[in-house]
Assembly symmetry: C2
Homo-oligomer: 314 residues x 2
């Protein structure tokens, strides 16, 4: 098994997903200090803000950390220049074609990982020369694939097809799930929701409490005509859902969504009118905990599972 | 771990899902003879047909087998009487409230398992006195839950909440997936799609070939306004999808679906005009194999995974 601990020089095969409005330097450095790989989510940052977060993260941890860059913003060139200039060593790209930036970043000696939701893009990313892929299933929060393939099925589909390490994402809410993902061939996991609700997350407290309160079945993949995105149930979601059920067009949905809707909900705490991106594991979260405690719990759960399964043959 | 091999007196913790139009006595007896638990799917059978299948199954295998009964048909009382009279020892119920029939069947000494897609119904089934539950995730074929919870998340949600054995279903397409499900606390798995496409399945050959040809992302959860059902992409699905996108009402969808649509597609081989129920693992199936070979492959995959994960601690 190609283990991502060697690839990233980290202790545990746990990556904290780069999430808009949740993962600034505080969260990323806390995860890295606890032995995982912290990622600053550049998706919600102006280039100058990102620079500040990278600098603060370097001060807060001596461990490796990275930056996640969704490749759909006009400022991507500028973002990449900052990443290189500030000496970031690991970049996760998502939501776009990895070709152009993979070559650029690899030339600078940066480790590159691309996020995919299907086999087709997994192979494209591999061809583009990335060092690893994140395979993200239907249960993941935020933007998601059109195929709706779940993490369990996606990992089975990619195994023996992709040669580079696969980092499983979507639905990872316990140490047992990390063990299961690695049994399915993953070389590690990326976790979003658990960290979005952590003490060090930059999400608004009101959003964190909504995550803690969420029961099962309270997130839905929405806005499939635009880009599918998994949202927590709230009055804004209800509006979208009703519009979709009555046959709203792409344009009408885009207008309903408007601008800055995620910031409003996740960062400013308007949990009724904002867009709240979170994964299905929200239903498993019942406490806002510090990162160190979350990771310690995951490791204990992993090892308990490993011991329980030890020597179990059919 | 409460293992279902003891509960059902079988060799391997593998149940073949009771599927309409696919799982008659030939499939069920083949699975039981290969060491799993075969289930006759009563959902697509008239009571007299079921009686015939039970009798043929008893002739074809000396091993335990069961019957799956969806609790939504008017003839359920009659079906249950036949099951008792014919001496069936194991019944899986689905799609309804397990209370009434669990008491009835348990009084006759029959082992009862109920299929659920969420925590709420898992607890209700446990309260009703069933011996085990099948926890079926979003990726499963055919009828599905409204919550869209994936198998990975559902297993994590049920663990430590349900005391009876959990049989994981949905997305199980390899021995590694069985191992992963058991790592997540399942006491066994239920597999549908792999067996729907087996040689012994009573599905029409044309449907089996459609399953083999299916790539990733070619099944979708549809008809959510009626009862969500995972279908294979075909012209009939396309019609449903377009109707849904243009805001069709429940009544319009019910009319479009009509009667006998699943039989038409899955049993009579009208793969364009019929309803083709199959899980996401359809994308992993590339050959129509005999049951014995499918199960041997699963066991080999399980043991290979167990050996690879052996002694792996964080």
């Amino acid at each position: 098994m190609k283990n991502i601990t060697e690839l990233f020089h980290i202790k545990y095969p746990i990556v904290q997903g780069g999430m808009i409005w949740c993962s600034g330097w505080e969260l990323a450095s806390a995860v890295s200090n606890a032995g995982g790989l912290g990622l600053i989510g550049a998706g919600s940052m102006h280039p100058e803000t990102l620079k500040e977060h990278i600098r603060k993260c370097k001060t807060a941890t001596s461990k490796p950390f990275g930056v996640n860059v969704p490749l759909l913003y006009p400022q991507t060139d500028e973002i990449m220049e900052i990443i290189v200039r500030e000496g970031v060593k690991i970049v996760f790209t998502s939501a776009g074609n990895p070709k152009k930036y993979t070559i650029f970043l690899k030339e600078k000696g940066i480790t590159v990982v691309h996020v995919v939701a299907n086999k087709k893009f997994a192979l494209k990313a591999q061809e583009a020369g990335v060092d690893a892929i994140v395979a993200e299933g239907f249960e993941a929060g935020g933007h998601n694939g059109f195929e709706e393939t779940t993490t369990l099925v996606l990992l089975q589909a990619l195994r023996n097809v992709v040669q580079i390490p696969i980092i499983a994402a979507g639905g990872i809410g316990s140490g047992a799930a990390i063990f299961a993902a690695m049994a399915l061939g993953a070389a590690g996991v990326q976790i979003g929701s658990l960290f979005a609700a952590s003490q060090e997350s930059s999400a608004h407290e009101a959003f964190k409490h909504k995550i803690v309160d969420a029961g099962e079945g309270e997130t839905y993949l929405s806005l499939k005509q635009l880009v599918p995105v998994r949202l927590l149930h709230n009055p804004f979601f209800e509006k979208v859902h009703q519009a979709e059920q009555s046959g709203a067009s792409k344009e009408e949905l885009a207008e309903l969504l408007g601008k800055g809707r995620a910031k409003k909900g996740m960062f400013e705490g308007d949990v009724d009118g904002g867009e709240l991106e979170i994964g299905q594991v929200a239903g498993l979260i019942d406490e806002i905990k510090p990162v160190r405690q979350i990771i310690a719990g995951l490791i204990a759960g992993f090892n308990e599972t490993a011991r329980r399964m030890d020597g179990f043959l059919l």
